[in-house]
Symmetry: D2
Subunit: 392 residues, 4 copies
């Protein structure tokens, strides 16, 4: 239980992994989450960084993180140049910059042979995502995408239960991400970067929170998104991208679904949740109460499955950090993704096959970008059903 | 507080109202709810009935209800004939038969000058509903529609708060009715009447639960439904009508919404809930926990408003049957609708204007039927946006 | 299901039962609850009353309730005199007056041969309760005590589960009634009647809410209270009786428990709940969410049992008024007690044995009074353990 | 916000702190939690350890943690000897061994001048705790006690609200820790160490979970425990110490309380919660849902305060690791205690006063031990009220 896997894997190569980070410096919300996640299990040392578009701010930040001065880089290009030939070069690079720069930065690291972990959305256009996937395949590097919610233990429990047939053939997938914080975001004339076309991509809520939502549903059910009908709206005056999206979805195997994504859910917090109904039963999970998964059985008591109970799948029980009843949270989910990627990188270092380890990879990244583009297309066509599959 | 209104109104005319009932006999689920609702506050005596399509079963049922034999009728036509000229004729007739018969029966009573309370959907076609409205207007009778959920005190609280501007201009209305019981309903070759085209109407979930859902949202917000895009599916083998509906909605004033209606939400019970988000705040209510209404305020604590607290509107405080903290339920909501209708009928008996009293009336009934038809049309057109307004 | 039992029993004697009420008039909170409970299922007509200590106010109230003038009595003695020899005399008398008058009034009706339903606490002294029990036994009348919470379906479910051994031998019973309303009660120099020694009895919270609490725990488990250690406090300035009680309890069979009763739980509402832990499992129920009962199983998912599901005991399924998922509340629980008593009275009228029907009776009433007295004794003795059993 | 404090403090001394650990090796539940907590914020490197009573197992464990072989010690005495004179000696020693060894080990480190962080209960006898406090005062070292729950942000919020008078003078403190895991613990003839007199101390539940409970209540309210009346029971056959405790408590200022501590709450998990009622309002917190704190206001909506909202105290907002709505858990609470201690140690290294920083210290540790002893005494005296204050 608990920390055993982390200790065993670290012991296998006799050291912690070396992590480099691009972006996520002072003022970044997601930067801290990545650092907490990387540190928690003791599998990484953060040894290199290009934390800020402003080199001086980036250097100050690196200093505070106790990074050696010669590994505090002004730009991601400097990091590639500086690290490429070191004997102790970084084992993994996390890319935490705004959406529109992911493609360029990720491509550069991939071409230089670095394994990477990129924030979602992987890119801001399907073509770019597909191109990046081709580069990655060619160079053989590992490209992980930070779908952090898939690190929650009860999501893994849910997936195992669906695969085991506990809910039967899936009929309906209801997903939503009611994000309330941006409702009071002051929009400058240019807008916040989250809602600025050039930076966020062709969409706001679709890319930032919708990619999480579509990943969770397809990840748990192993279904593929096939068609989308979308109604996008921009409510806050001055916004140049949608801040609310209603979607109807059709999945492989005949399953249907709805998705609501919003930046205007006034008073909501991180209202991300999913419910999946099959022929035999339903499953319900909410990220604000992530240690529980409800199993709904017709005519029977609702079962509130808790993280780590004797009925959990071995993967969840083995991955416990604290006992059942003690809550784990968002950082632990991130840490688990970092742990999975660490296993893959360790496997590679030890001469094995990193792809024998499961982690959210480039396929899921490309699917997320395609989801965004398809929804934007449907909305532009007045809500017509649009094919949302990734081009073969 | 509490029972005062009921007692005062009864005292005003010195008697309880006389209620006749069509349908809702042995085996009917909704029949009991109506009788409980009618009896609870002591405003009605159930004195006449045509409870069953099988006259003998209907008579046995009437006998058990201690109804006088001469007011136990074989058919609704007999009830009209028998009651029409009595000095103590029924003051109100509740129509609880299957959907497809509402128009015929309601029309007959209306034409004979009886005030009625009809189950939803009012009819199974917009044209019929419009025609019935015309008849009612001509004869001057009172036509109430049993949108029972609008009798819940916290729905009235919510409506008052929206009207008072507490959540600002409405942006998003998210509604769902995840009804799990029918998922295990055995479908005979002909199907259950709930999913049989000739009887249920042109739809299953839209008419049976969707009319409640659309009523609640428009009732609370005073907005009008303008457009619908629908995706209807039939999952259970043998069903001839849809058992799942995903809808995207556009309301007057630019508000958007989604609605999910389902008979295949395995393991759900009566999962009816609504959330309304405005520029300033959000409201959330679930019928399985009806004594609470959540007010969501950006950056502030979530406020769980409870039935009857000092902050409630006077109408709710005055309508209390039991003290704050003691739960009221579905029957009490029905009783409140019966109480509102009793006030209107009492007003009429006392020579006043029954329409000065607010109750769910024929306008809301017609809108519900139009909602059903528009959704069916949109689905037939491949999910195109369809005008859902009632024809002028 | 549903209303069947009520209709069948009414049909058996061909009429509704005739109910007389003492107390519970204008301004009484509990009066309304009794009337709602008596009316809901259509088993009683309220035909007689002495509603108020002030005869004029009582008569006005009776008039509003549409009671015949000759059965609107100035005092309970008049009611006895007026009803005793009527052919259509009342079948049951509900006694809803303040605590200190229960003994006198109940004794008078019992001696006159009337069946009664008395509010709790049955009396304000153990000796009186024992004496009343003796009178009742002698006259053979039916004495029910309104332990209304025991009418909740999930309490019956819980009791059946304990009896079936589903939680094993009981070890711990944790009960509390955190009642917040009185915290802001303005205390006149004499105090509110709830906290006035002469009227409330020797205690405030013990008699008013503690009797409910001790009844629920012993009713569900079939255990007997054996010993009490108590710490009573009066917090609100001017109060002459305790408004907070902490109790430690010892039950037959070695079970232990705690109980917290309070009028100073600021901001709480009707925070009445109970948890029972046995060797194999635990049960948890809260009256503010009464349609659910949680079953806690070591190492397994928490099971939220809902009113009416297929797993429920037949008594609960047969007693359903509205479908699973539609909430029932406090009034329905009262109605069920009224229904049980109606069954017993009907049995008597039909020549059968009223005591073959289970309802909260005089034994439970006496035990409640003894609980109060024992706790007061323990507190007076500095918290010593005191024998709380009813003297043989 | 977020990680700023951690980075700034680390930057102040230009390095992470060096942590040594005694106990908590393979198979220890609490060991992992300490390591996670120490690592999360990047303030400590774990550089030395004596992890196991079996030196070989301890060394293997140290190796897996990537600790240098010369700092992997066989015993705590070896650690003192090995670290005492190193230039890079450990800055803090965490003591995670079974209860009965705390006094000996803590004394040795304190006498050798090491700052320590000791698990609760600080010792297994009040005299020992008092003696240790004297040693600590004499040597001037820092002694922290791991009352981990006091690291939860909403506990800090609660304390600030009580101090600000938001709930008024405190009247009732209701605390419980319903711990269900041990109910199925197989008791060997000698018993599990948690319930073995020599090892656990004079009590089981009192020391292991009761010390947390009494700390939380007194910490939030700034009240002192004055008197205890206790009823201890041992339910599981073969247990030699109590596995259930009911307590009545009297605090300074006239506040009263109850506490329930149990190892036999079958099916419960870590059911630790506290409710505090004052003259004006109540507060409620449960550790299984730690990101929310309920404020109960008479006659008003219940307010669910969430971690990090704009209404939170600055300390909570500044201590945010992830945004409002993203849950933090048990590890983060531990990390915050480690962070507070790190601030104190950093202050000391930088030449300042470590006691200017607030952390759970030796006073709270001594009070916890006295609480245990007083409860054991009361129970031995048949539940008499016992003075629970620490001897002056």
């Amino acid at each position: 239980m608990q920390e055993d896997r982390f200790r065993r894997q670290a012991a296998r190569i006799g050291r912690r992994l070396r992590l480099g980070i691009v972006g996520g410096g002072e003022g970044s919300v997601i930067g801290g989450t990545h650092r907490f996640g990387a540190r928690l299990d003791g599998r990484y040392d953060i040894v290199a960084g290009a934390f800020d578009i402003d080199p001086e701010k980036g250097r100050r930040f690196a200093r505070e993180l106790l990074i050696e001065p010669d590994r505090s880089y002004a730009t991601y290009r400097d990091m590639i140049a500086g690290e490429r030939d070191r004997a102790d070069r970084v084992d993994l690079v996390s890319i935490l910059t705004p959406n529109h720069s992911h493609f360029e930065i990720a491509s550069a690291f991939v071409e230089a042979g670095f394994d990477i972990l990129c924030e979602k959305p992987l890119t801001t256009a399907t073509d770019d995502a597909v191109a990046l996937a081709a580069k990655a395949e060619k160079s053989g590097v590992l490209v992980a995408v930070m779908y952090g919610y898939s690190g929650y233990p009860m999501i893994r429990q849910a997936r195992a239960m669906v695969r085991a047939g506990e809910i039967g053939k899936v009929r309906a997938i209801e997903t939503e991400y009611a994000f309330g914080n941006p409702v009071t975001m002051t929009e400058t004339p240019g807008g916040h970067w989250r809602t600025t076309p050039g930076i966020s991509g062709p969409s706001a809520v679709l890319g930032m929170i919708g990619t999480h939502a579509i990943h969770l549903g397809t990840h748990i059910t192993d279904l593929t998104l096939e068609e989308i009908a979308a109604d996008l709206t921009s409510f806050v005056p001055g916004r140049r991208l949608e801040d609310n999206a209603h979607l109807m979805l059709r999945y492989s195997g005949g399953a249907r679904g709805a998705m609501w994504l919003s930046y205007v859910a006034a008073g909501a917090e991180q209202g991300f949740g999913i419910r999946i109904f099959g022929e035999k039963a339903g499953l319900e999970w909410h990220q604000e109460n992530p240690n529980h998964l409800a199993l709904l059985l017709p005519g029977q008591a609702r079962r509130i499955i808790t993280r780590g109970s004797a009925e959990n799948i071995p993967e969840v029980r083995d991955g416990m950090r604290v006992a059942t009843g003690h809550p784990e949270g968002f950082i632990e989910a991130f840490a688990t993704i970092y742990g999975d990627v660490a296993d893959a990188v360790t496997e590679k270092i030890a001469g094995g096959d990193p792809f024998s380890i499961e982690f959210p990879g480039i396929k899921a990244g490309v699917e997320g970008v395609r989801f965004v583009d398809a929804a934007v297309e449907s909305n532009a066509l007045g809500g017509q059903w649009v094919d949302a599959r990734v081009p073969a």
